[in-house]
Structures are given as structure tokens and as C-alpha cells.
Amino acid sequence: MHSDIDTSARAVGEVLTDEVYVLLPDDGERHFLGEAVLVGIAGSLLAAFLKGLTAAAEDRVEQWGKDVGAWIVRRVEDVVRSEQPDVVGTEKVLPDAVTEARSAFRRAGDAQEVERLLATALVDEGMAASEAARIASRVGEQARGLLAEDRDSSAVQP
């Protein structure tokens, strides 16, 4: 499963441009992001989306939408501070989010709503609307792919 997660995070990382600088911590330092950090940030966005699916299944997606921007910013700060950012992004938080979302995910409509709320949160953080929509769309596509792959592989488990 981890290689799928890594592939998905990298696929999200491909659409992250300098717009992600709006998510960086305000610490008086200037950051220039390497690929590993971008993948870590992408992993955080994927985890946020999957947590949104879980929240939707528990009828608390609106609250998730209000909190997710701050959650992502905190995660990005962890990623930026880490000496091995890809580990932070994918090894623990993201697999846990996949597992939770797999058991909670109910319907496609929830995913669309989570995608919309994620884009809104990114705009609230300062991202241009077109970029936010593009990123949220890629995150949603990869998250749904991860869940589908997960279901496919669990179907053949004894």
C-alpha cells in the first residue's frame, strides 16, 4: 500500500507550484522547497482530503471544512521543519487516513463536497482560486484512486 501512497503523493506533488508558498509557516525565514518537501506537502493534502471523507461519513464535513486550512498549515510546518519531510508526509499520517477513510467512505457526492471545501480552504489561505481548484481536483482524483486500489486489494485478501 505504501508504494501506492507514495505514487499518489508524487502525482499530487506534480501539480504543486509556487502557490504552495501560501501554506508555509510565518517564521521570518524564507524557504525554497525541494522535491521531497513538495511530496511531503502533497501527502498532507491527501491526508486532509481523506480525513474529509471520514468526516463526511460522520456528518461533520462542514466543521472539517472550517478547520482543514489550519490543519494543513500545521502539517506543512512539520514537513518544512523535518529533515526527512517525505517520511512525515507519507509513513504515518497518510496511511492512517487511508485506513480510516476506507471504512468510512460512503458515496461519490461526499468526495465532491470535500473537494469543494478543500479548494475553499486553500483560497482562504491565499491561493488563487484557479490553482486551488486544480490542486483540490488532483488531490481528490488521487484519494479516490487510493481508496479504489485499497478496496481492490482487500477484496482478494483471504
Binding site: 506534480e14 525541494g34 521531497a36 526527512q84
Partner: protein, 385 residues
């Protein structure tokens, strides 16, 4: 050097090289650009002096120092102050009068003048264009442009003319700016910075009810209009905020950010390196001006928007750096195409022994082209050849 590694700058003649250098010098405040160039040149020539994982620094003119560190992961940080307890690896001090890019441009100009004198492919007009570009790098040029354009409006305020008359004067100033741009080669940063200021003043004056109100709105001009275009833009922003026009400022900043991205897209779609730099040269003033306004709004704007504007300013600041670096890279590459060779080696390394070779190579090329903006998309195939 093998035939394979001959870079795109190898075939540039003196005139084309002069154009690259001239655009580079116009791309940013001269002294800072020259210092950034010197640091890049040292990093290229003495890579062992700048190891990863160690803080390095550079002295800035009259404004302290700047420090940076690149981690092995490729993530880097920079700051105005060295973190407590951290040691400095290499600290660069560029001599106060060092102007390596301008000196290079002057040498090229001298060669062009000699070539034009004996006839051949270089014409007197070609040389005049380059000479004009060199003259425009004089430090006081943008300030003189600002003074010339805005002096009539200042006199109008002193004569207590009403809002319609001042608006008409500002309209004429915009027209003259466009004319100056066409005739005298006023640099784009001046054009956009002063142009935005005039338009912002015009918007504010529309809401003025009396000559006194106009004078209050445009008071930055009363002290002096002989200022750097970006300083004028910042002073203009302050005046607009005082009359409750933060939304107008934010609108200009957003439109600048969008225009910058659109122009970068055009630069990426160009066919040659020279066209590519032309496109970035068009984008940069919009990016700079947008940064000035977002920074101002982050520090002085409505409190509920400050956090967001600060984040956007950080992003636009990063965009400025990415748009400036290609100019330094291309001037460096004029020496021996070593930048091109290094980038080709980066791409080639991704091709070795992995199952997802193609994806890794694509990512490396995308990084150089779409993230770092070093080349137009049309050169992707040459990077991988």
C-alpha cells in the same frame, strides 16, 4: 566539451549577448542583481566552498546580511539573521563598486561599436539600442522619469485645481509614459510602477470632493515625486489606504499577480532563449509591483486580511526570485555553457537504473522549465537528448 554539450548560448554573437546582459540588468535593482550574480558565479566556480547543510552568508549594501542553508533533502532556508549558535561556512562580500554584468555589457558595447564602424552585420541602430539600454541602467534614471511625469500634477495641486483637472493631468501623464516607453526605452519596472501609481491616484481622485481633498490624497507628491518607482507605488498605496481604498489596492495586486502568471506562460511557450527572457522581462515588473502592494497590505491593510496578504506576499516574493534567476543563469551561461551542461547532467542522472525512468526524467525537466523557469518548453527535447 563534446558536441552534445554545446549549449543554446554557444551561438550567440556579441549583439545577442549584449541583449541578454542588458535585459538582466534591467530585470532588478542593479546593485542587488550584481551581488546575486556574483554569489551564483562563486557557487559555480568554487562549489566546495558552499557545501550543503551549512549556513552561508552575503553582505548586502547598506542593509545588513542575508544567510542561507540548503539541506541534503534539497529544501533550503534563508534568513536575515543567523540562527543562534550557528556557524557560517562561507561569507561573501562583494566589493562596493563591483558591477560584473554591467562591465561585461560595456565591453560588448565597445566591440559592437568597433564592428559597426567597419561595417558588416552589426548596424549603428543595433549599437544605439544597446547603448540606450546601458544608459538606462544609471541609478537615477527611474527617479527622473517619475519627476518628469508627475511634476504637472504636483503643480496642479499647489494651484489648488479641482479633481477633474487633476484627473485629466494624470491621464496625460499616463499617455506620456506610454510615449516615453516607446521612444526612450524607459524600463518596464519604471513603466509599471509609475503607471500603477498614476492609475491608483486617478481612482482615488475620483472620490475627492475638493482641491483640499485631492491634495490630501496625493500628498506623497507634495514632498517629492523624484523617487524610485517602487517607493512611489508604496507611498501611493499608503495614500489610498487612508481614503478607505484597500479593496482597490488588493484588486491591483491580484491583477498584477494574474498578469505575471499569464506572461510567464507566454515566456514558457516561446521558441528561443532570447524570446523566453523577453517574456520573463515582461512578467517581472507586474510581479514586483504586485509584491509591493501585497507587502503593504500585509503590514498596513485591514486587519482581517493581513494574514492572508502576508502569505500571498511570501508566495509572490518566491515568484520574483524564480523569475529573476533565469537572467543570472543565462548571463553565467554566456561564459562557457556550464549551466546548460549542469542542467543536462541533472536530467541524465534521473535516467539511470530505475523502473520509472521516464517519469523521473519528466519531473527533472519540468522542474528546470516550469518551476525554475530556466528554459522555454520548446527546449525540453534538447535537455533530454
Amino acid at each position: 566539451m563534446t558536441e552534445d554539450f554545446v549549449g543554446p548560448n554557444a551561438a550567440l554573437d556579441d549583439l545577442a549577448q549584449a541583449r541578454v546582459c542588458a535585459r538582466a540588468l534591467h530585470a532588478h535593482e542593479n546593485r542587488l542583481f550584481e551581488i546575486g550574480y556574483e554569489v551564483r558565479r562563486l557557487q559555480r566556480d568554487q562549489p566546495q566552498a558552499f557545501p550543503d547543510g551549512v549556513w552561508h552568508g552575503v553582505a548586502l549594501p547598506d542593509s545588513g546580511s542575508w544567510y542561507w542553508k540548503v539541506r541534503e533533502s534539497g529544501h533550503g532556508v534563508s534568513a536575515r539573521k543567523l540562527p543562534e549558535g550557528a556557524a557560517v561556512g562561507t561569507f561573501v562580500t562583494v566589493p562596493r563598486n563591483a558591477r560584473p554584468v554591467r562591465d561585461r555589457l560595456l565591453t560588448l558595447l565597445q566591440r559592437l561599436e568597433q564592428a559597426a564602424a567597419v561595417g558588416g552585420s552589426v548596424t549603428g541602430d543595433d549599437v544605439a539600442v544597446v547603448r540606450q539600454a546601458v544608459q538606462a541602467t544609471e541609478d537615477d534614471e527611474p527617479c527622473l522619469v517619475t519627476e518628469r511625469l508627475l511634476a504637472p500634477a504636483r503643480r496642479g495641486m499647489q494651484d489648488q485645481l479641482g479633481p477633474p483637472a487633476i484627473q485629466a493631468m494624470l491621464g496625460r501623464a499616463l499617455e506620456e509614459l506610454a510615449l516615453m516607453r516607446r521612444r526612450r526605452g524607459v524600463d518596464l519596472l519604471t513603466t509599471v510602477g509609475v503607471g500603477w501609481s498614476i492609475q491608483l491616484f486617478g481612482t482615488a481622485v475620483q472620490r475627492a470632493s475638493s482641491p483640499q481633498h485631492v491634495a490630501w490624497i496625493m500628498r506623497p507628491l507634495l514632498t517629492s515625486s523624484e523617487v524610485d518607482p517602487m517607493a512611489l507605488l508604496s507611498a501611493t498605496a499608503s495614500a489610498l489606504l487612508d481614503v478607505g481604498l484597500a479593496d482597490v489596492l488588493a484588486g491591483f495586486a491580484e491583477r498584477g499577480r494574474e498578469a505575471s502568471q499569464r506572461l510567464v506562460g507566454q515566456a514558457l511557450d516561446s521558441q528561443t532563449l532570447e524570446e523566453h527572457l523577453d517574456g520573463l522581462f515582461g512578467a517581472l515588473p507586474h510581479t514586483f509591483s504586485s509584491l509591493v502592494l501585497f507587502r503593504f497590505l500585509a503590514e498596513n491593510g485591514p486587519s482581517e486580511d493581513r494574514s492572508r496578504h502576508k502569505k500571498v506576499a511570501t508566495m509572490v516574493d518566491e515568484r520574483v526570485v524564480r523569475q529573476l534567476n533565469p537572467f543570472q543563469t543565462q548571463v553565467l551561461d554566456l561564459d562557457d555553457q556550464s549551466e546548460w551542461r549542469r542542467h543536462r547532467e541533472v536530467v541524465a542522472r534521473e535516467r539511470t537504473g530505475e523502473s520509472d525512468d521516464a517519469a523521473r526524467v519528466d519531473r527533472a525537466v519540468k522542474k528546470l522549465i516550469e518551476d525554475e523557469l530556466f528554459y522555454p518548453r520548446s527546449m525540453a527535447a534538447r535537455l533530454t537528448a
